[in-house]
Symmetry: D2
Subunit: 338 residues, 4 copies
Amino acid sequence: MIIICKPDATEEDIQHIIQKAEKLGLRVNISKGVERTVLGFIGPEDVLRVIPLEVFPGVDQVLPVLAPYKLVSREFQKENSVIQIKDDVRIGGEKIAVIAGPCSIESYEALLSVAKKVKESGATILRGGAFKPRTSPYDFQGLGEEGLKYMKDVGEEVGLATVTEVMDPRHVELVARYVDVFQIGARNMQNYTLLQEVGKTKKPVLLKRGMSATVKELLMSAEYIAAKGNFKVAVCERGIRTFETATRNTFDINAIPVIKQMSHLPVVADPSHGTGRWGLVSSIAMAAVAAGCDALIVEVHENPEEALSDGAQSLTPGNFKALMAQLQAVAQAVHRTF
Amino acid sequence: MIIICKPDATEEDIQHIIQKAEKLGLRVNISKGVERTVLGFIGPEDVLRVIPLEVFPGVDQVLPVLAPYKLVSREFQKENSVIQIKDDVRIGGEKIAVIAGPCSIESYEALLSVAKKVKESGATILRGGAFKPRTSPYDFQGLGEEGLKYMKDVGEEVGLATVTEVMDPRHVELVARYVDVFQIGARNMQNYTLLQEVGKTKKPVLLKRGMSATVKELLMSAEYIAAKGNFKVAVCERGIRTFETATRNTFDINAIPVIKQMSHLPVVADPSHGTGRWGLVSSIAMAAVAAGCDALIVEVHENPEEALSDGAQSLTPGNFKALMAQLQAVAQAVHRTF
Amino acid sequence: MIIICKPDATEEDIQHIIQKAEKLGLRVNISKGVERTVLGFIGPEDVLRVIPLEVFPGVDQVLPVLAPYKLVSREFQKENSVIQIKDDVRIGGEKIAVIAGPCSIESYEALLSVAKKVKESGATILRGGAFKPRTSPYDFQGLGEEGLKYMKDVGEEVGLATVTEVMDPRHVELVARYVDVFQIGARNMQNYTLLQEVGKTKKPVLLKRGMSATVKELLMSAEYIAAKGNFKVAVCERGIRTFETATRNTFDINAIPVIKQMSHLPVVADPSHGTGRWGLVSSIAMAAVAAGCDALIVEVHENPEEALSDGAQSLTPGNFKALMAQLQAVAQAVHRTF
Amino acid sequence: MIIICKPDATEEDIQHIIQKAEKLGLRVNISKGVERTVLGFIGPEDVLRVIPLEVFPGVDQVLPVLAPYKLVSREFQKENSVIQIKDDVRIGGEKIAVIAGPCSIESYEALLSVAKKVKESGATILRGGAFKPRTSPYDFQGLGEEGLKYMKDVGEEVGLATVTEVMDPRHVELVARYVDVFQIGARNMQNYTLLQEVGKTKKPVLLKRGMSATVKELLMSAEYIAAKGNFKVAVCERGIRTFETATRNTFDINAIPVIKQMSHLPVVADPSHGTGRWGLVSSIAMAAVAAGCDALIVEVHENPEEALSDGAQSLTPGNFKALMAQLQAVAQAVHRTF
């Protein structure tokens, strides 16, 4: 922690801060400049972070030195994490995982049909929502447990691992019985109750970035899960909210290499939500692979016109197949495989 | 719903859309312009909103005509809502309600002391967090039920209504036993599980705007609560996230008159989170009253230096008292009272 | 300047940085923490600011201690600046200045008529655009020099000071002949050529904040003008660009008290551009006064339906008169006058 | 143009709007819905765009049907534009152009040295600033005409086309004498004076997106240039300003395919400004190629530690060479070449 004092900070102000810090077991390095005094604290920064140093008299700025996350940081673990999902299905490592399927689970037949096709094209994990976070209370809210059953059955029949969103901490156990990976949606990235609940399980978690969350906050939310003992977290860039209205969200491509520098966790890219328009999904999927993502999650629907949610951003199985073919070449170019 | 077709939309494309709409019971108004055809749908727009019309061949843009919220709209109810909290404590109407207290409940004594002082200065509702949504899993997470008990006891002793944040749907009943008003925090504005749970109660709800939520989305979240039968919702502007880093958030003063135009719900202003710096709180509190807010929520702490959370944005009881005196004159200027 | 080194920075890395700094005449304070070394530089920070310290091996973060602006800072001058415009017309000080008039100058008669009315209601400075920065090359671009002549004549006839936008550095001299105050528009806030050109004159400058400029950048642009010798700069908050689409811009009310803390320059508020909708202008004008602005600039048009630009956000003279009456009471409440 | 009336719009209100439109030569299509009336205008939308229809009584929303730009739109020209720069140097088409060089021109020798190296690695256009838009008036402002001369001499000696920024409309002619392509910087994207001045020349223009400009506004600025007769415009995505502070800007990768859909102009990607950190430049350059850009502009400096500007985001010639090798494979994967 570094404190930059105000130009008119008195000696008394400075001593007051120093005493506070020393009482907490920190040593203080004092640097008196021409215009301002700068204080550097040596010792465990955590004890200081909870003190509102900004309100101490004479304090102008408070600058943390250390990242507030630990377990998920690159410093904590130098090697990339690889999350084992099932058999030979993993997220992380040289092979890029592909997660595909409908936004919502609509029926057993529809799920089975699309599952077979995405598997054929190279997907290894099936996605599909049983509990849907809809902006409007009047929109389709998902099939609930029935949807989870379809997910389990289809996953087993076709041979795909499965991921679905959990929104309610009371459903964690239920969802865990049916699927292989929890998804925490963007709107719940800072639902700490839910993060802690999945943190207590041993299931892998796909944690989506909140639409106005910084990369640092995303990693803090991952830390919440890890702090409960579950290190199997993959973080997902799915577009952020900006002033631009030409697309549903602005896909933050920078976040991919940035997170890889800051953290050992695998990074998933979601070009479907990242753009909101199916005609842009392929371009952004290719960009994400070129930028170094470890997995893709793509919405695929047999007939987007009939989709109960997110039809506008869903690929048809045919378009998905074409995308997978193109992606092979891009992956090779960056020394990865599918 | 209006559809603007692409310049190269074929007659077949247009008929395909019309058939879909007519099957759903809508009439279609066709307007063939020089360059493009525009389709207007007459009838209940809801049935169309769930169809991903953007993916139909020939469609360029889909423009909704009606607001997606109903119960909370100004059209649904012309008169301003007034929420009865307790005895003569209300939010809404000519009298501006003042909610004040510490960010976190830290001890019975501390809460009692600050409660007496804020009441003396004119507050009618006591705020204080028992369950705290902290960005870091290592920060103080609140006293839990013990804090709720202090809240109830202090509220009764001093004669203040009480509000506290609820984060977990499993805690709704518990919290309801102790306090008068639920607060839904900014991070949970789209935690639909939680919204529905408080919607099933009869308790007033203070719903905070998410840090990147539009005014429309805020009203949609209020609609979630109202749709479950609980109309006692006050919405709270508490600053949004923008590129500006000089303040913790950017207080969206425009939102106050905008929401008053769109909705009959009372609007609460939170200048503490809206600025993040205690030295700015008074200016923004006065601005919010001048702009027409129905209530203020302000963080007050006996000794901000020792606060376990949000010390940087807390007023001392003395500063709060001075603010209340200034606010009287501003309220009068806009024909309101405290 | 403070440098936080990477955890794995070598002694050689650190010496390399220190040598660089010492060569530039700075002393270095070294603070070796448990995990990281922090370097503080003592001496004129300017010489370091141009060095890309971020690329030096072993450097993690570079944190400036001093604000990059000087002449416009509160530290440079403790007292508020008061800009003398003409006779008893000033911006700054206890009396709040009101600038009003049409977006564009459309004809002599129209300007004269609106000028008389805004003066009657209490405005002291007439605004009106002769050169218009329009997003579309096909929109009305202003009357040019003819408009300037109208401005001068009307200003003299009615007894109002005048302000108009200058967009082209080649027009600075021309505009100076006709009006009392230069306006630099939001789109030109970082048009350094133009800033320097008006900085060479002795005329007051109304500098608008760019739509995505931070407060710090706004002050840096003011510094550009001051650095050329012209200290008569008033900075104007006119709304920033955010994700919110309910209003044309988001009026950053926080910026008013923030700038007053950081700088001695007077702060002007523009509720017309800050909202983009005439029905919101009065609420935000009152809020801005309550928050401490030194002047208001408001678009007024005899017949907004016929306005050649910005009709949607223009008040009628009748609405403006009503606003001025309301503002009196708000100003009194904060110990100011009109 | 479509107008959605308020629910309480009177017949008189509606007739008033219709009369206005018919007077301007438009036909009106009236669609009376259950709750609201919708008006569609048939005829040249331009004449309506300048009318502030939002202020007409009874009007709720005004929705334009047509894009405000014409000459640069994909509808105006189906085929991709290819801009001929010099000999066999082009921007647009299958071959991806690479523009490289230092941020600022610092000396003849330095420019010559870096020019040789970037050419060797595959660049065809040399970049370098002679007039620098610096946030601070105290920072290095560029070598001016002397720098332009170095640019011309080095370009000829090494066999590279050249591009440099022009900031002052009075310098257009001067700059045109020395370099092959004008660059309009992000801060000047809406400096209409400057846009019109380069529009009057026949030189190609590299137009950078303003840091908070929408894609639509970027195309409107390109339209300004085209409307003056100069169609040789390439638009450049260089990162936008968002709430994320981990990178200098947020590179809007979506903008690449979006612009390609909306316009026939070539799209240039600037990963140097788009990230602000040299360690991220290569990842984003590869992503931009995968997403379909037509050219890259990359800052390269012999010794970033000594760069007079933008050192933090400059590649060394060695890193640039390595990047070019990697890019070959990515380009092939998307059927492009370098």
